[in-house]
Each structure stands twice: as C-alpha cells, then as structure tokens.
C-alpha cells in the first residue's frame, strides 16, 4: 500500500457520486464502487483500446479522453465510458489496392472533410498526432501515416469527437497495411528461415533434443545462457 492508501477522492460515474481510494485507476475505482465491466474492459494493460473513457474535471470545461485502465482517478472527475464507437471498417482486398492517395479517398472519402481543427489529437489517450495522421493520408504519404499511427489502439475517442465525422484509426490501419505490403515488402529473413526449416536444417538438432533423457534436458535448461 502506498502512502496515499488512506486518501480518498470523489468521482462521478455516469452522474452517480462515489468516494474511492486515490491511488486507483479509473477502471479499478469503478470496480471498487461496485461496477462490473461487461463491455469497456479488455487487456487492462493499455494495449487493446477497449476501455475508452471521457471525463471532465470539476471547474474545467475541457473534455478529455483516457484509457480507464491506465488513467489514475482525480478528485472531481466526471466520468463516462465509450465502450464502442460506431464505425464502419471498409472491406477491401489488400492485393487489389493501389498504394496512393486516391485509395484513402476511395475507401474513406470523408477525410476530405478534415478541418485540421486538432480535436482528434486532443482526444487521443496515446498522445498521437492524430490530425497529422489524417493529413498525411490526404497528401498520399503512406509511410508517414503508417509510422505516426503505429501506437494507435483503435480506441475510438478521436472518431467520436471529430466534427468532420472521420474515423482516424481506420485511416491508420489502412496505411499500416499498405505500408507493410507495398513499401516494406516481404520479410526475407522470415521466408528464408521457413525454407531452412522445411529443408530440414534443424531436424538433426531437434531429434537429438527429443531423444534426450529428462535429467540431461533439465541440466541443459539450467545452464542456458540465453533467455527464450
């Protein structure tokens, strides 16, 4: 327990007031208060984007976005969850796409409505430059779009706030896929290794290990000098 373990804060979950320990994340605090998550919880590790949350602090007009599993509670937080942001991910066959600007417009023409207002960037819990992601797509710069959106979790907070009704995470995903397929290309070292395995390069070593007795195997394991 931290030195803050006795300190309690007041939060409002969908309008209802709760008093919760100060050293909890929003997610833990909501569970402490008795909420049971059926939606809006996933990996609990800041990686899946399921727990998208919006909140305001007492006395501030700012509407902020966060991940419930990562953000610590603060006194006077008014919280609501967005477990799902409605968006259509277009069906496309990656093999049929041309890696250029027109592809973004074909799949997601609403990006032409981008106002460069930066609301998406303000909403992002991962501190990504979301506006730059959409703008790079408008310019046809697949590489920049892909790289800037690398840490995107598709949590949907940008999509629910965008005044032009764009879904930025779909743009990032399309860019990353095209980047991998058309710009980076096939991973030679993986293909090489697969071929080596199929050619039986590692068969002898593998068979030796399979035939070894248990104490010898344990000894090999205990004296290993490389992890995993």
């Amino acid at each position: 327990m931290t030195e803050n373990s006795n300190r309690m804060v007041t939060i409002y979950v969908m309008g209802k007031k709760h008093t919760v320990p100060a050293d909890l994340t929003i997610m833990k605090a909501m569970e402490y208060a008795g909420h049971q998550f059926k939606r809006g919880a996933g990996c609990r590790g800041g990686f899946c984007g399921a727990c998208a949350t919006i909140y305001r602090k007492k006395g501030s007009y700012k509407l902020q976005g966060a991940l419930a599993c990562q953000k610590m509670v603060e006194d006077g937080m008014y919280i609501a969850q967005i477990p799902f942001s409605p968006a259509e991910k277009k069906s496309y066959n990656l093999d049929d796409l041309k890696p250029d600007a027109s592809t973004f417009l074909e799949q997601y023409p609403e990006i032409a409505r981008c106002l460069a207002c930066n609301t998406c960037t303000k909403a992002c819990p991962q501190d990504l430059q979301v506006m730059d992601i959409v703008q790079a797509a408008l310019r046809g710069d697949i590489t920049t779009t892909a790289k800037l959106s690398f840490d995107c979790l598709s949590c949907g907070l940008c999509a629910v706030r965008c005044p032009a009704e764009i879904v930025p995470y779909n743009i990032g995903q399309l860019a990353r896929r095209m980047y991998s397929k058309y710009i980076v290309g096939p991973t030679e070292h993986v293909e090489q290794r697969v071929k080596e395995v199929e050619d039986g390069k590692f068969d002898e070593e593998l068979n030796k290990l399979k035939a070894i007795d248990k104490p010898s195997l344990k000894k090999l394991y205990d004296t290993r000098d490389m992890e995993a």
């Binding site: 600007a101 027109s102 981008c114 106002l115 460069a116 930066n118 703008q135």
Partner: protein
C-alpha cells in the same frame, strides 16, 4: 532566396505535373521554394459566414507553420507562395479575416492553443505569378532558352486568382499579369472574352453536364480566337477544361480537343528544361503532339 512553398493536396496527388514543373521552373530562376513541413490541407473554399471560426483553422495553421519556418531560419521571410489558385485564395482570405476581426482571431488562437506558437497574423500570402512580377519579367525573359515562338497561348485566369476584389493577383476587370508572363516566355498571347469565366468549379462532382456546357463555351471561345493551347493556374480548372473534354465531346460532337497546360509547365519548357521537369506527359489531353508540331519539343 528561400521562400516557403505551400503545394496543397492536389499538387501532391492528382496534379503532380503542376508541382514538378513549379519546382523546376522556380529553381531555374534562382527561387528556392522550400516546401513547408507539417502542412495541412487548406480546407478550400473560404468560409464566408461571419460567425465561422472552425473553417479558418486549417488555412491559418499553415500560416503558423510559415512563421515557425521563418523563426527557425528555414525560410527568409514570413511569406508563403501558393500555386493552386484555390489554395492561394483560401489562405489569403482567412489571413485577411483573421487580421480584420480581433474577436475571431482570439477564438482561432484559443482553438489552436496546443500549438507551440501563436500565429501573429503577419504572414504574407503570395501567388507565384506575383512573385515573378515583383522580381521583374525581364528576369524571366533572361532565363528563356527556347522561346515559345509560334505558340498561341490563351491565358485562362478562372475565378479565384482574381476575385474577390482585394484578393486578386491583378485588377479583376483588366488583368495583365498572366499575359505579361506569357510574353516574357516568347509566346503569342491570345486574348479571349471568357478568360475569367468560371469553369464550374466543384460542380464537376455532381453536375457534370453543367461543367461540360461551361467548358465548351470557354474553350470554343479560345479556339475561335486562334489559341493552340490554354494555360491555367488551378488544378480544378485544368480538370474541368482538360479531362472533362471527354464529356464535352459527348454533348457537343463538333467540339475538337485543345490541350490545357499549367503556366509553370510553359515556363519549364521555355527555360529549356527536360521532360522530367516539364512533366507534359501527365496532362489530359496530351499537349505533346501539338508542341512537337510547333517544334517546341
């Protein structure tokens, strides 16, 4: 001289020939156009409603980038050169609105408050034609290696380069700037009555028929005046007068094709630059057969 350059989305995607030829022609004149980093779509067209703040963010954010570039020494002045007439108009008008209305400027600054810097309103928006005029047509002429002799060019201004009053690169009633450029390139200027008539603009999306009518009128006038080729400064005009000739021919079978080029392509051609710089293979319809006929390529 390092000047900030704002290409706009279209020059990077469907009108690459405009971007390519611009950079080449400017370089040949000793104008180093430095493309702004992190520029965003200008959000054309200018938002006219008096209460609008949101639609000014996109253009003004670009002007902030210009200031930042100047402050970090990447460019020499708080000036940006635009090529696409629509981008030029949108950037300039938003700049004017920002400077004319302190209340609106305050709201814009507030909305851009997570930028590292605050826009001062002091950036000057210029079209390349203005830059050339300021430098002097004699400088353009001095750089010409292959004068466009015998090429009859009809300069098509379109709307947003000249209008509204106070924004235009020249007098809206009797502009000369485009003609002066063409003369300095050695071309024969063909004046025609519809050089400022609207091409139909964004109606090309859903009212193609109307654009076909307007194009037909404009191009037929240019042809009647004896033009070999029409020169323009706007990718939307180029599309409506160029690509849309397919629709014009369908509706008006007697119409015959005339090539449309960007003025920077003519500059690059006159400066003796190669086909990678003039990028003439990207225009529709193809201007090369005519230019070959004239002995210019």
């Amino acid at each position: 001289m390092n000047i900030a350059y704002y290409p706009g989305c279209t020059l990077k995607t469907t009108a690459k020939e405009f971007d390519i030829s611009t950079k080449a022609a400017a370089k040949a004149l000793g104008i180093n156009l430095v493309e702004l980093s992190r520029w965003n779509c200008c959000g054309t067209v200018h938002a006219l409603a008096k209460d609008d703040v949101m639609h000014h963010l996109a253009p003004l954010r670009n002007l902030l980038r210009v200031e930042e570039a100047q402050q970090s020494g990447i460019v020499d002045e708080k000036k940006v050169v635009a090529l696409c007439a629509m981008c030029y108009n949108t950037l300039k008008r938003s700049n004017q609105a920002f400077n004319a209305d302190a209340d609106k400027a305050g709201k814009v600054r507030e909305s851009m408050n997570n930028e590292a810097n605050v826009y001062s309103g002091q950036v000057e928006v210029e079209h390349l034609l203005e830059t050339l005029r300021t430098q002097g047509w004699d400088k353009v002429q001095a750089r010409v290696k292959k004068p466009l002799k015998g090429l009859k060019v009809a300069p098509y201004y379109g709307c947003l380069l000249l209008r509204p009053r106070g924004i235009g690169v020249d007098n809206a009633d009797n502009p000369r700037i485009f003609e002066d450029l063409l003369v300095s390139l050695g071309a024969e200027v063909v004046d025609f009555g519809y050089k400022q008539k609207c091409c139909g603009s964004y109606n090309t999306v859903h009212m193609v028929d109307v654009v076909a009518d307007l194009s037909n009128r404009i191009l037929s006038q240019a042809q009647a005046a004896g033009a070999d080729v029409v020169a323009t400064a706007c990718p939307l005009c180029e599309y409506n007068l160029g690509n849309r000739q397919i629709e014009v021919t369908k509706k008006y079978p007697k119409f015959y094709s005339i090539p449309i080029v960007y003025f920077t392509q003519l500059m690059a051609l006159a400066f003796g630059l190669g086909e990678d710089e003039t990028a003439l293979g990207m225009n529709k319809p193809d201007p090369r057969p005519l230019l070959r006929e004239k002995g210019l390529i």
